[in-house]
Subunit: 298 residues, 2 copies
């Protein structure tokens, strides 16, 4: 069987089968009273970036996707290791621009780059390992949602899909990980389960369904479709089935909603149900939300 027939998530699970926290794409080491959360994400110029992507944007993006994984656990970013593969014939300016993009992102979201490696490669390949910190009782796992929980997202969806369609490199790559939102949610200690939406809403809901062995009822009307997506006739598809949104998806008891809303923008889009299905309610009609989104090797 070839890797393209297996898909990224199953392959990655192969690596992380000894994960301390099953089903989370962050791992952790336990410390006195807190978790050191660790994650790694690799991006490369061949599969992640449109042609003519500025090197600066590559650097920002490589860092930001890792920070987003920390944010989804409620962790405060601490440190990064950066391993880069670069072409021999690349100009120094390109390298400097990648570093500038990374440093800007780190400056905005916290932590620092503490180690690195550079090697020759055919294209630009950047693997960041990010390390963050969160109190044990504030850690937001993927596994933990409860039947009856309300389901929330932290902002508008469809940006990633529109950006790809319109080749808007800024919107596509200068993503803004929800570190502040993640910290506020985590410190409230009300969140039962959380992940980021980098794979798209539909795919993320399906992953959460499998992990938690519970289902979702999602209300189409409630989904916060971004302005830029609304001009397209398939706006809802852009919001559901495209990766590249870096909002957080989480569940908690609805009674805490106002308390959280005083501090950050969250939108309730549905609820956790017993039946292991992802149901989308549109105009009072129930449909099944397809398990589609972005996955590498597919």
């Amino acid at each position: 069987m070839k890797l393209k027939d297996i898909g990224e998530r199953k392959l990655t699970y192969g690596i992380t089968s000894e994960l301390s926290i099953p089903f989370d794409d962050c791992a952790y080491l336990e410390r006195d009273g807190y978790y050191e959360v660790m994650t790694t994400d690799m991006v490369n110029s061949r599969t992640h970036f449109p042609e003519n992507t500025p090197f600066h944007h590559m650097g920002w993006y490589a860092m930001a996707v890792n920070i987003s994984d920390l944010a989804a656990k409620g962790a405060e970013p601490l440190a990064y290791l950066v391993a880069m593969g670069l072409p021999r014939d690349m100009e120094e300016e390109g390298y400097n621009e990648i570093m500038r993009g990374m440093q800007e992102c780190v400056k905005k979201y916290g932590g620092k780059i503490v180690g690195g490696d550079t090697k020759e490669a055919d294209g630009v390949i950047i693997a960041v390992a990010a390390i963050g910190k969160v109190k044990r009782e504030e850690f937001m796992p993927r596994l933990g949602m409860k039947e009856g929980d309300a389901v929330y997202v932290t902002g508008e969806l469809g940006r990633g899909g529109v950006a790809l369609r319109e080749s808007n490199i800024d919107d596509l790559l200068l993503i803004e990980p929800r570190v502040r939102e993640g910290r506020i949610l985590a410190s409230s200690r009300k969140v039962n389960a959380c992940m980021d939406l980098s794979d798209g809403l539909a795919s993320s809901l399906h992953q959460m369904m499998r992990i938690n062995n519970l289902g979702f009822r999602i209300y189409g009307d409630a989904i916060p479709v971004c302005e830029k997506a609304k001009k397209y006739d398939d706006a809802m598809n852009l919001a559901l089935y495209h990766g590249g949104d870096y909002e957080l998806l989480f569940t908690m008891q609805e009674e805490y909603e106002n308390e959280i809303k005083e501090r950050i923008n969250i939108i309730r889009i549905g609820e956790v149900v017993e039946e292991r299905k992802v149901v989308l309610v549109v105009n009072g009609e129930e449909k099944e939300m397809r398990n589609e989104g972005y996955e590498h090797f597919r």
Copy 2:
């Protein structure tokens, strides 16, 4: 200026310019009484591996080079994050073999793989981030050697050079990081400076010279050239100017030599001198050791 005119070490230094420990290729986070040591190294099929390299060996090697960096700091391996770029058309068997190579290496040297990522790429690219632990007062830095220190290596040199020349894939890639030796040296608290010899002895001595602003006098007769290298007329060159040896290079006061020798094999090859030069003494004659070895982009 192109990257090939700059070279790996300077580029990597660009990433790590905010390093907590200047000049070390491991970074650290300070914990109660100990350091958490972190390092990352990327390998890829295009530049690191001869054609027909078994996937298993790629996995072992990718892990082992990182573990060697921990060993050189005296750290005990704790955890690894693995980011892999793999071709779409690769067979699943290849992926499994890479994982098997990694797991065997981890099983032998300690720690565990706690997180990972897989992405599409043109070849096999593996970036491991390794995290280890060492008591603060046992950490072995690169910066710290003293004039009058004796200079040691932990084993025979030239293996890597011969393996490359003879295309001996086992010797080249199934390297054995000196974790046990590193721990014994570190816990003795006698070592003033240490690094591994992955770049070759000559290159490593020159790096240590620059970092410490001190020089070396190395005795050609004392250099432990491995048996396999001795059959070549340029045996000494193989031991000095080729990368791929993963012994440790360290300095300490000579008076502690016997104490250490009771536990591990170490060979004294020279001494630290004030003059900022690397001198090789052969047949009573002093020559300058060239700053040559393996470096990416060069």
